[in-house]
């Protein structure tokens, strides 16, 4: 079997409240094993243009963190067996207080939190807060440009999950899988963490190339583009749009997971 274990990324509130729910449904129906829900931040400097625009559009519609938390709670009720991770930026986490934010996520059924601009050795108490909750874990983000000692240090934390950014850069552009990348992924899993490998993967073929080196493959920008496309095509019919988002994503996920029909 050439099935891929997929972590599908989506932006809460994009294109709007009903549209992002349709997206989540499509991603799960297509066969995603994990959902990574991004809570939009005004200044997402580690994201590429597709995700950045999605965040900006959600915020322009007045989408709030409270709404994102409701969305997450609803997903957990619908799909109690799909692991839910939250990705966002430090400002969204530290403004309400790390402790309180982590508790809120844990209560809504979130099992992991990814904050790229909170380094694992200066995380403002994120890991400690997660440990206190017990049901949620802080997921560090590794990049190939890291010094070997630092990456070894991060891997040795032995966190349940470790997020590996496969490209030296930002999400959006495509990935070629070379020797160096393979070595990097090996180093990421050295401490026993399940590696979530992401950034730039768009095809079943690409995913196959790293499948044996990662626990799950993360796909983000490609799905956001599917949503944007549906949103443009059906901008005056929300129901048709949501239906297109759901079915197109379900197909997209299916193809990524099992290969072209």
């Amino acid at each position: 079997m050439d099935e891929i274990r997929l972590m599908a990324h989506l932006v809460a509130g994009y294109p709007d409240v009903s549209g992002c729910l349709a997206a989540a449904i499509g991603l799960v129906e297509g066969g995603a094993s994990y959902l990574e829900v991004q809570i939009p931040f005004s200044d997402p400097s580690a994201d590429g243009p597709a995700i950045q625009n999605a965040c900006a559009q959600a915020l322009a519609e007045g989408y709030s963190v409270a709404q994102a938390l409701d969305f997450i709670a609803e997903l957990h009720i619908r799909y109690p067996n799909i692991a839910l991770f939250v990705m966002t930026y430090a400002s969204i986490v530290v403004t309400p207080g790390v402790e309180s934010f982590v508790r809120t996520l844990a209560r809504r059924g979130v099992s992991g939190i990814i904050v790229p601009d909170l380094p694992f050795d200066a995380d403002e108490g994120l890991d400690a807060a997660c440990r206190r909750e017990g049901t949620i874990t802080a997921i560090p983000v590794a990049a190939p440009s890291m010094r070997a000692e630092r990456l070894a240090h991060m891997a040795a934390l032995g966190r349940p999950y470790l997020y590996a950014a496969l490209r030296t850069g930002i999400t959006g552009k495509s990935t070629t899988i070379d020797e160096e990348t393979l070595r990097f992924l090996g180093a990421c899993s050295a401490g026993g963490s399940r590696v979530l490998g992401g950034f730039g993967i768009r095809s079943h073929a690409q995913a196959l190339a790293v499948r044996s080196l990662v626990h799950a493959v993360v796909v983000g920008s490609a799905f956001v583009e599917v949503i944007s496309h549906a949103n443009e095509l059906y901008h005056n019919s929300p129901r048709a749009r949501d239906e297109a988002i759901r079915t197109n994503l379900a197909h997209g996920v299916q193809e990524l997971v099992s290969g072209p029909p």
């Binding site: 005004s42 400097s45 969204i92 530290v94 403004t95 380094p119 560090p140 440009s145 950014a165």
Partner: protein, 425 residues
């Protein structure tokens, strides 16, 4: 100097791992360059020949007499090449980039002053230069865009977010995450991840050390220093020699904008609009919404509307060493007119905020006290903001005539074939 990148509770290096190595390399190179006399000598040569240092310290005799209070001195930083203090930092970092073997420089800019300074420094040092600028700022700062392009810089309009300075910073980080092998990011103020706040202060401290020497030449010691605070680079450089002493008073002036309502100002250290947060790689005081989103700001001066403040200034404000004030749009315009009339000097709108606070302070102090205000920039760049304000009718008529003349020339050019183009080298 920071303690491992922190100034009290603020500062730090909150960057994604992908950027960490790039920042660490800059830290190491900066520390080496500080110890290297040939680097320092080259920087001093460029400061003298290219930037035009030392900039004068002007005794504002007429203003002081008129106000019947303390003696006001103006540090004429706006006479530096490209019109503002920004060049001190841009040249320092560009020289460091060159030393590190980088061939390409990127920078963000709001009003365009840092972009202009960076573009000039890169032209001088032979570095490829890309400037990120919010699309809104590109539209309202065309004269600076034109000059940056004349220096050979690629000016890239940023269409995301609020399409202003903070979005240009995000875009520069994005570029850097993919390009740091050959690219150096020159941040334009005393903020961002460590070591930028230390590095920018160091390159800007030439302002403060010159002032101290210029006052000493006249057998004077200052009672108060006044500077405007956007990100805080001119203020921290100006204050640098005095941070560990008790006098003089150090006064930072923020943009009071149209008033105290959220979105109408950019005051982070006065009033209760700001929160402690982490944005753009450092912890400090920011204007944020309850959710932690970066909040909108306003100032008549494009250089003072950044929603955060350099971490060292935030810490010194908290400890009480620096006093913070705010001056509004109207007060800045009045101060600009005041010094133009009395001293024949036009402040940049940013610096005019410091001017306004200096006027108020001088009035409240007895004669013989010495107040130094940093004129961080000169006002030429603000003509398109000040002229419509001071002379709306005449300015509108002028722009209409200019546009007509341009359109006529275009029409003629389209009829007649172009002459031979000139190429040099």
């Amino acid at each position: 100097m920071s303690d491992k990148g922190y100034f009290g509770p603020y500062g730090g290096r909150y960057v994604p791992e992908v950027l960490r190595r790039a920042v660490e390399e800059i830290e190491a190179a900066f520390e080496e360059a500080q110890q290297d006399s040939s680097f320092q000598k080259e920087l001093m040569r460029l400061q003298k020949e290219f930037i035009g240092r030392p900039t004068p310290l002007l005794y504002a005799e007429n203003s002081s007499r008129f106000l019947k209070g303390a003696d006001i001195y103006i540090k004429m930083e706006g006479l530096a090449h490209t019109g503002a203090h920004k060049i001190n930092n841009a040249m320092g970092q560009a020289l460091l980039a060159k030393r590190m073997g980088k061939t390409r420089v990127i920078a963000e800019t709001g009003a365009g002053q840092h972009g202009l300074a960076t573009a000039a420094a890169c032209a001088k040092l032979g570095l490829d230069c890309t400037i990120y600028m919010g699309a809104v700022d590109v539209d309202r700062q065309q004269p600076n865009v034109a000059t940056m392009e004349l220096f050979g810089a690629h000016v890239v309009p940023v269409h995301t977010g609020s399409r202003t300075l903070k979005d240009a910073i995000n875009e520069a980080f994005r570029d850097w995450a993919a390009s740091f092998v050959d690219t150096f990011y020159i941040i334009g103020s005393a903020l961002g991840p460590s070591p930028y706040p230390d590095m920018v202060r160091t390159f800007q401290s030439v302002i403060g050390f010159e002032v101290r020497a210029q006052l000493a030449e006249r057998q004077l010691t200052p009672d108060a220093l006044v500077a405007c605070v956007g990100g805080g680079s001119n203020a921290i450089g100006f204050f640098a020699p005095y941070l560990d002493t008790e006098i003089p008073r150090l006064i930072g002036v923020e943009a009071g904008g149209r008033g105290p309502a959220p979105g109408d100002h950019a005051a982070r250290m006065t009033g209760d609009g700001a929160r402690t947060g982490i944005v753009h790689g450092y912890k400090s005081r920011f204007l944020l919404t309850e959710d932690g989103q970066v909040a909108p700001t306003h100032s008549i001066s494009a250089g003072l509307d950044y929603p955060g403040i350099g971490p060292q200034l935030a810490a010194l404000g908290r400890s009480g060493r620096i006093e913070f004030r705010r001056a509004g749009d109207q007060e800045a315009l009045e101060a600009l007119q005041f010094f133009a009339r009395h001293e024949g000097v036009v402040f940049a709108l940013e610096s005019a905020h410091a001017g306004a606070a200096a006027i108020a302070l001088a009035r409240s102090l007895p004669r013989g006290k010495v107040v130094v205000v940093n004129m961080s920039g000169r006002g030429d760049k603000d003509l398109f903001i000040t002229a419509p304000y001071f002379r709306p009718t005449e300015w509108a008529a002028f722009l209409r005539r200019e546009l007509e003349a341009l359109q006529n020339k275009e029409a003629l050019r389209r009829q007649a074939p172009a002459g031979p183009e000139v190429h040099y080298g």
